[in-house]
Symmetry: C2
Subunit: 248 residues, 2 copies
DNA sequence: ATTCCGCATTGACGAGGGTCAAGCTTCACC
DNA sequence: GGTGAAGCTTGACCCTCGTCAATGCGGAAT
């Protein structure tokens, strides 16, 4: 029964009252009791204004955070001020996994617009995951997915040219937005050219020039932060062979 | 008692008969019974010849592998043949974490010299980790450490110049070798210039030229694969501010 | 021991993208 | 609504690193 139950529920989402984790972050098959257990662990969500830090590198690690609404970037900084954006996060995506290893966060998480997150106290999630095998498995999978994502970013940074990086970036954003029910080919960038550049290993001028170039070729339209993808196929051709690339 | 026991044992290594995981890969505090449980799960080690694949991208995921002896690279490949080395692994380090997310490996693991690995059947490790909290925690930490490492590689690929990358690479190798009891300043590279370049986002000629340059400046000596670090401080100055960089 | 092939080194050249600078737009904040 | 600062675009220039090529060296296999 329990096994069957799990299988049947596996495609369902958890509905937890306190936040919309059900969306993407925790689509595990759980029964009612397990769900309510989880609900007691997940703390009230927290709101952040644009520019606010969710956590900073070096701070003690206590919780993971799932984006409910809004948009975040994570970045690691070197002592001399160089900064590398390591990811852009949208609803349903998880931040803070880096903190587990040393009990300190190793990157900053910053809201790029007014946002809301669920706090998942890690210690309690950890013990809960001992009682709920599918939850444990789900955490292993989430962390593994992050590792795979990072490897693809490495591929992007190590092998691809500026145009390919930008194309991969746009397509990745597009794909993730459409997953969340937003338009795939018409969206607003939440981050600056400089932040895009930092993520892609390019300077902001190169980002700007490349976007202009794509526009001239009729592949996209650019109106400041408003982007429309016009010829998705051409963009895809550009990165043919570079796997799905980047992106959470 | 149990709690104290854990604390006291925390700095100890597991001694499991079948392989030398105790080294670095699983330094958890476990009592005797837990250790023997773990022992029954860890399969006999497997030997690979130089050049042999431990697993390939796309293959079904069943196990993690810990390096006992030898040296590995992991790499992701794009369809058009471009290849990105995502890490070099030495004894005690773990491979295969990427496979958890989709139940398929997403990278290749290749022995760079005759090597030996321990196979850790993941399903059994997973259920065992439910019974042994410290083991579960350790797995979370291992995966988190991999994420942190990957973020630092991103920083390297996104921000650093060729000389900085090579310096960071050499220092990282040096540090990991000395951790394992090898000489920190005198070692043999197990990988080709091309593989170094792939990892660092550089072409093999640039790797070669940069090593020659370092030698001319008296910072290192280069005799094919035999490297000696002469002026570690100068190398460190070169990457001042770039955090510990690279990894694995 | 010999041969061959893979790997490494080095040079010359060129291009992609970084740097510097100027001007413009937009948005946040008074 | 006005003002300033921040962000964006575009151009010119230059430098780092990639590309192409020639040569050399060493190790593996026979």
């Amino acid at each position: 029964m329990s096994e069957q139950n799990h299988t049947a529920l596996h495609t369902l989402k958890i509905s937890c009252s306190s936040c919309s984790l059900r969306e993407l972050c925790l689509p595990v098959g759980l029964n009612r009791e397990e769900m309510s257990q989880l609900d007691t662990v997940i703390r009230q969500s927290r709101r952040l204004k644009r520019g606010e830090y969710l956590f900073r590198s070096g701070e003690g690690f206590k919780s993971l955070y799932a984006v409910r609404t809004g948009f975040f970037k994570t970045c690691v900084a070197s002592q001399d001020g160089r900064e590398q954006v390591t990811g852009f996060l949208m609803s349903g995506e998880l931040m803070g996994l880096d903190g587990i290893s040393t009990n300190n966060h190793s990157c900053d998480a910053i809201a790029l617009e007014d946002s809301e997150v669920c706090e998942l106290p890690f210690g309690r999630m950890e013990s809960l995951s001992r009682d709920i095998p599918s939850l444990q498995h789900h955490f292993y999978r989430l962390m593994s997915r992050e590792i795979v994502r990072d490897q693809n970013v490495m591929l992007l940074l190590g092998n691809m040219k500026a145009e390919e990086r930008i194309a991969a970036f746009l397509l990745n954003l597009s794909q993730r937005l459409s997953t969340r029910g937003f338009a795939a080919n018409d969206f607003i960038l939440r981050m600056s050219r400089e932040e895009i550049g930092s993520f892609l290993g390019l300077k902001l001028e190169t980002v700007s020039r490349t976007l202009s170039k794509f526009q001239q070729q009729g592949w996209i339209t650019v109106d400041h932060k408003h982007i429309q993808l016009v010829k998705v196929e051409d963009l895809k051709n550009l990165i043919a062979g570079c796997i799905h690339a980047s992106g959470h």
